[in-house]
Amino acid sequence: MMDTSVYGSRCNACGKVSYPAHCVCPECGGGAFEPVEISGEGTVLTYTDVYALPLDYAQRYLRLGMVELDLGVRATGQLLDENPEVGKRVRVAIGVVRQSDEKRIYGLQFVPV
């Protein structure tokens, strides 16, 4: 089965978790990492309903959010919440975030806890 998870990276030298991953650790300059699955719960930092959509989206608007994950990193993704609020608790779910031709792209969605 295809792995649809999203990964950040943990630096082997200093332990800093980064998302998205870098080739060089922004904290210590290290170059060796272990993948860290972006998962669990977090808090909504900010969000928007965007009506100026790029290609590949047929709906009227997309609700996007930035979440501070308990994991220690922030992530941007689609916020699937009818009543969004700054400070609200959400958890990571993985879903289809974009569909280009026949290709489905999986990524982070945030749903209410």
Partner: protein
């Protein structure tokens, strides 16, 4: 390092254009060369700023094409692509060429023809500068990053929809005095925010940002002629000295910044430009900021050091940044009013400052302007160039 001066400038009217990208570039370049009145002096190098010709206009290597059209052989020439900061990037490269002694006279032309494609394609084109895996795949666009940024600023600093509208109203008012500006429309607080029909006329684009909080999609070109200052004194009555340039980068994904409301690259770029010039924010008479979204004018005015953090909207409210205020910001109309052909913008900001410092800005002239500051904001603040210009009286 040699001192460098701007000795001429020109631009096309921004807006929707029927002529080709190359025609736009020729028009602004010839305008700047005429304005510079170089006599027998020759252009040694050409820098072209452009972000999307390969995708939007199916044309590449446009600096070579411009040299050919203007018969500037055998001038050195190259294109500079640095997202929405391409304009100031090309300018910086032109500056370095003259400062190093590799060139005496340089032409810098920024251009973009975005209306060649529909709005959906144009939005997607600009969105392609976002992080491909951590932002773009989610449908993130520049307006959406700006929307999320705005919500944070509202929560933390008390910025309101009215403050954002004040930026739009001020800049579109200034644009009415700029014959090169894309938007020629007077707007009011009532019309875009409080009237019942405002929800129709001014809908959300990326809430809390509305249509009138966003710059238009424009075609256009802007050009500058640079020359070594000692040579410029021989023929140019009012050389505009490039006193300082600073550039700084920040994380690609906006969410990775320690504080996503902090425009660190703006702060660092401005600090470097001021340090190089020996001036400070209080010495500046006129400012051009990168208001692709109204919130950015407020946030950049703080990050660049003109106002304390969280107080930019207060200065705006008090009229400090209006055309007749103590520190006029975006007398040209800014990106909001002048328009935003991405590759041209950074050059157009410096064209406006040059006109202002030479006293050639007509109805929007800032009185006794001797020093100017510009901020060209690439990505969503991940690559920023600040410039300080000073009038050299002979």
């Amino acid at each position: 390092m040699r001192q460098v001066a701007i000795v001429g400038c020109g631009m096309t009217k921004f807006g929707r254009s029927d002529v080709s990208l190359l025609e736009l570039m020729c028009e602004s370049s010839l305008g700047a060369l005429r304005h510079a009145d170089l006599g027998e002096r020759w252009v040694d190098a050409v820098y072209v700023a452009n972000m999307g010709a390969a995708r939007l206009n199916k044309q590449t290597a446009i600096a070579s094409a411009l040299v050919d059209r203007l018969s500037l052989f055998p001038a050195m020439a190259e294109s500079v692509e640095n997202g929405p900061a391409s304009g100031a990037s090309a300018f910086k490269n032109g500056f370095l060429a003259v400062a190093s002694g590799m060139a005496n006279v340089v032409l810098v032309t920024g251009a973009e023809k975005m209306r060649a494609v529909n709005n959906l394609e144009a939005t997607d084109f600009v969105a392609s500068l976002t992080h491909p895996e951590a932002e773009y795949i989610y449908g993130v666009t520049l307006p959406s990053l700006a929307g999320m940024f705005t919500r944070l600023c509202m929560e933390r600093f008390g910025v309101t929809a009215e403050h954002l509208a004040m930026v739009a109203i001020k800049n579109q008012e200034n644009a009415l005095k700029n014959p090169f500006a894309h938007i020629q429309q007077r707007i009011t607080m009532e019309g875009i925010l409080h009237a019942p029909e405002a929800v129709v006329n001014n809908p959300f684009v990326a809430d809390p940002l509305r249509l009138y909080d966003c710059c238009p999609v424009s075609d256009g070109a802007a050009s500058l002629v640079l020359c070594a200052l000692d040579l410029a004194r021989e023929f140019c009555p009012t050389p505009i000295r490039v006193a300082g340039i600073g550039q700084a980068t920040d994380t690609h994904a906006v969410h990775e910044r320690p504080d996503p409301t902090q425009l660190t690259a703006v702060h660092l770029a401005a600090e470097k430009a001021f340090s190089m010039s020996g001036l400070s924010p209080k010495d500046i008479d006129v400012v051009e900021l990168h208001d692709a979204f109204t919130i950015l004018e407020i946030a950049e005015s703080e990050a660049a050091g003109f106002f304390p953090r969280g107080e930019g909207h207060v200065a705006l409210e008090e009229g400090t940044t209006s055309l007749t205020g103590a520190l006029p910001i975006n007398p040209s109309g800014g990106l909001k009013g002048r328009g935003h052909p991405v590759g041209a913008t950074g050059v157009a900001q410096l064209v406006e400052l040059t006109w202002q410092l030479r006293g050639e800005a007509d109805a929007r002239q800032v009185k006794d302007a001797k020093s100017g500051f510009a901020c060209n904001f690439g990505g969503f603040g991940n690559n920023v160039i600040a410039t300080v210009l000073v009038r050299e009286d002979s």
